[in-house]
Symmetry: C2
Subunit: 337 residues, 2 copies
């Protein structure tokens, strides 16, 4: 159906439209790319491409613009991921290398991705469900209140205030703390419920209400927040994307954790870069944006995802390169700390 030249034409249309942000016509096309044929021939090809749904014209007698289907074909078959320049690689390395805790790593990653791609960056915190418990701490913070702190192997720290159920003796708290740590050390967070199942039995009766309270909060925290933590940055870049409608809607959606999660998509089917184009996105409101995302992790273990949100009209090869590179470096950084 589509011979090589037609594919070349589609590629040229995508590239030109991305760089000029205007519908591209047959004449401009032959001028800028040496296709070896005349504009009339190109016009015929374009008519076919339009029939097949890869391009469209905003109005009669205007140039053509790629459709979502056209971008999809471009990404799948007509382009390759563009590696970053070595200067960019060095920049990433030094910038991320300076981080000193998980919040800092994530914060820097967001800014880095946003700056590198000039788009909106989204980074998910390492998923709790794939982490293991490193340490549990129980600290009295006020009359009748305890602070429960869970530290994971990825450096993530979860905290929560708990009612002390009247048990305030340092000794009791210490006992519970020790018990928690023996039960949970190195335990996968998905297995916590199982690991602590009969923990209260090992305590004196009067301390069991406290233990039960702590455990219920613990489980609740791990379930509630399992994948919830996610941040974005580079919203300023939304301004220079010309959103025909609803910059407001996009900004609103970005502030909803749930929407962000859905946007990044499920942690990867494969270890490569994922692209979701326009209407392929689950949420209405993102119908005119694309998401380029990738998993990151240490070694074989996938920890979470990160990605970039931009207009469908984006430079996919470069964006995919940046996302892939940053995902790799983040993994390295996390492995090293």
């Amino acid at each position: 159906m589509l011979d090589d030249r037609k594919l070349a034409v589609l590629r040229a249309i995508v590239e030109d439209h991305v760089s000029t942000n205007e519908p591209v016509g047959s004449k401009a096309l032959v001028d800028r790319h040496n296709l070896g044929v005349s504009s009339a021939t190109i016009r015929n090809d374009m008519a076919v491409l339009e029939d097949e749904g890869y391009i469209t014209q905003p109005h009669t007698s205007a140039g053509r613009v790629p459709t979502d289907k056209g971008y999809r074909l471009f990404v799948d078959r007509l382009s390759t991921i563009k590696p970053l320049s070595s200067a960019e690689r060095r920049a990433i390395e030094t910038f991320l290398g300076g981080a000193y805790d998980l919040d800092d790593v994530v914060g820097r990653t967001v800014r880095l991705l946003a700056q590198l791609t000039r788009q909106v960056a989204v980074v998910q915190y390492p998923s709790l469900s794939r982490s293991t418990v490193r340490h549990v701490e129980l600290v009295p913070v006020a009359e009748n209140r305890l602070l429960l702190v869970v530290i994971t192997n990825t450096g993530r720290v979860e905290q929560r205030v708990i009612d002390a159920h009247g048990v305030t003796a340092e000794e009791s708290i210490g006992r519970l703390r020790t018990l928690l740590n023996t039960c949970l050390d190195g335990c996968g967070l998905g297995d916590v419920a199982h690991a602590v199942a009969n923990l209260p039995d090992q305590l004196p009766a009067n301390e069991r209400p406290l233990a039960a309270g702590v455990l219920s909060v613990l489980l609740e925290t791990l379930v509630d927040k399992a994948d919830e933590k996610i941040v974005f940055g580079g919203a300023a870049n939304l301004a220079h994307m010309d959103f025909s409608q609803g910059l407001r809607e996009v900004l609103e959606a970005l502030e909803e954790q749930v929407v962000l999660m859905r946007l990044l998509g499920e942690a990867g089917d494969s270890s490569t870069v994922t692209v979701r184009i326009g209407t392929e996105n689950p949420d209405a409101g993102f119908r005119s944006t694309s998401v380029v995302a990738a998993d990151y992790g240490v070694g074989d273990i996938t920890l979470a995802r990160l990605g970039v949100l931009g207009p469908t009209r984006m430079d996919y090869p470069s964006t995919m390169g940046a996302v892939r590179a940053v995902a790799r470096y983040v993994g390295q950084i996390l492995a090293g700390s």
Copy 2:
């Protein structure tokens, strides 16, 4: 210079302009407010107000718009803070009441303020320099790495990865942990440097490098991050404010912690609501925005600030009411946890 009627005219102009977002003319003024005089008289008053610099006209033969100076006079002398409705109060209470840790309190506060005022909300985390140490934890997280966690009385948790300097014996780490906690428990964060000054002397010589390393990171963390943590929300509300120029600039600035800090201003001269109008702001780029801010804290102790950013053309009485109310409730919530 300005008699009562001229002040009433200024007040009317501000109110009308805020609600209509258009220059207000003498005729519209006498129609909507019963000032008891004719439009010609109002015109004379307006001419005087313009000479004095309280109002201005976008172009000859258009209505008048308040200047920064005009808004300033309005805020200082022509309006009173408008209390929230009891429904709004209840909403705040239930919404903030559901929070379970400090991150959650701050997050909810930001969303609440943004929604209540339909503007951009900014909330600073409780200042470290005014907090006291509740607990220090030292946990091995990897070969040769320690995680230092500091928990303050306001529920804030700071964490940082540290090089273990070759000392990995659980016993040594335990000793250092205990020592840190005895030295620092209840200690104001400003006094930490003093409190730990001769701590290494109480340890065996071979553990002193570790102690020194931990202490330097500890001090660095407390100094670096002392007042740094600050978040904003409700950026979507920027969309419906008509920014003549530079929505991009504003968004960029909002993502810079330092700028946000400067924007909120110094923690309060007085315990009331502060208003910074247009050019009164230190940063260029915020020349057409106003900031309404207030301190919050528990009891007499000011912990930090929160506030709202919007166009100079804003409903000051309501905004000030919302900011004041939220600041008070946040204080109460923090006191209770």
